[in-house]
């Protein structure tokens, strides 16, 4: 497994992709979850009660970055992929969780879809932690399967 990671991330392009995808998810999520504010000036804050939520965002973003960058490598290597779809679904579900508490997104959803929007928004808020954990679980499986697959394919190639 270490060897597979070593092969992929020995190429600086994949480290850049990893960092890029991480921040692409991390920054919007910490803005939506009200950890980072730009107005009236730049403020970053974590309340003690929200430490778990922040940790899950970091983990989710990191695992998504690994899953996507590894699958990009895999696509380039063997010109086919089967698992990237599920990793993206995991990322989207995880990213959505908890983003709908009292923020403008919830407001838009609720005003657009009424009661159904309110229920959906409420569901995402209440089950924020389990949904994010499930997404992380999906991403771990994706990373594991991709790594195994790459190890096998790399052996075949060599």
């Amino acid at each position: 497994m270490n060897n597979t990671f070593g092969i992929i991330y020995s190429n600086p392009s994949y480290i850049l992709i990893l960092i890029g995808i991480f921040f692409l998810l991390f920054i919007p999520l910490i803005i939506i979850s009200e950890f980072l504010f730009f107005e009236p000036f730049l403020v970053f804050s974590i309340y003690p009660e929200t430490t778990l939520s922040f940790s899950l965002i970091v983990t989710l973003s990191l695992f998504s970055a690994f899953a996507v960058s590894m699958n990009i490598y895999r696509v380039k290597l063997i010109k086919e992929t089967k698992k990237i779809g599920s990793s993206i679904i995991g990322t989207i579900i995880g990213a959505s969780a908890g983003a709908c508490s009292c923020g403008p997104i919830a407001f838009s959803i609720i005003t657009t879809f009424g009661t159904a929007g309110s229920i959906a928004s409420s569901f995402l808020t209440v089950y924020e932690v389990p949904i994010r954990l499930t997404s992380i679980g999906i991403l771990v499986i994706v990373i594991f399967v991709t790594t195994k697959s790459l190890s096998r394919e790399c052996k075949v190639k060599s």
């Binding site: 692409l24 804050s45 929200t50 989207i92 990213a95 009292c102 923020g103 403008p104 808020t125």
Partner: protein, 225 residues
């Protein structure tokens, strides 16, 4: 075959990026509202005369909080930031605090707001307000603010239950809550909770969107004092 899969992957990536962009745009639109305050709105008299005020009515600064009693970030702000503001700005007479209801999160939000004004009829608005945020639970409309619980909160505060029940049954304050909801959206430009509008001594207003930490309020308030 390979091309079709590549297209599929690219499509999924585009969907992901689009979703992130939509989320970000939705949030940034809110910043845009805050960055370019409507000068017409700022000069309008704030219809806060009827609102219960926490602190001295003569304070030079008014902190208006737009909130929903089922909003989790409002509870977080209530527990983490509000006590420090009360200690250092409200109790010292520098600022006062006003709460404007924007009950949009669930069906129990409006009755909860109404109940605060029924409590206000008996002089216990802020006690009831605090009780709602203290006992707020995770699930929106999960029963923590249903009619029975609202009655129980009133009972715990020692309110006259006959008067409270009558007030709730006849929806005495429904119009007040609806008015606040409209004011929150139109006058304060709120589209999420909590939103704060800090009105300074000369009528200048600073909008703060979200459950900001105490440090943000210190900076804004000290600038206005």
């Amino acid at each position: 075959m390979v091309d079709a899969k590549k297209i599929g992957v690219a499509g999924a990536a585009i969907v992901l990026v689009t979703l992130v962009a939509v989320f970000a745009t939705s949030y940034m639109a809110d910043f845009e509202t805050a960055r370019t305050p409507n000068t017409e709105d700022e000069t309008k008299p704030l219809h806060l005369k009827d609102a219960p005020v926490l602190g001295s009515k003569d304070a030079t600064i008014t902190i208006v909080e737009v909130g929903d009693y089922q909003c989790h970030m409002c509870k977080l702000w209530f527990e983490e930031t509000r006590p420090l503001i009360i200690e250092n700005y409200v109790e010292t007479g520098k600022a006062n605090l006003v709460f404007i209801d924007m009950p949009f999160l669930g069906r129990d939000s409006t009755p909860a707001s109404e109940a605060t004004y029924c409590a206000d009829d008996q002089g216990k608005y802020w006690e009831y307000h605090s009780m709602l945020f203290t006992y707020q639970e995770d699930e929106i409309d999960g029963g923590w603010a249903n009619a029975n619980r609202l009655q129980a909160f009133a009972l715990n505060l020692g309110l006259d239950m006959e008067q409270f029940d009558k007030c709730m049954i006849t929806d005495d304050h429904r119009a007040h809550v609806n008015f606040n909801m409209q004011m929150a959206k139109k006058e304060f430009g709120a589209n999420s909770t909590p939103t704060f509008v800090i009105v300074g001594p000369t009528g200048e207003a600073q909008k703060i969107v979200g459950a900001h930490p105490y440090s943000t309020f210190v900076s804004v308030l000290d600038q206005m004092l």
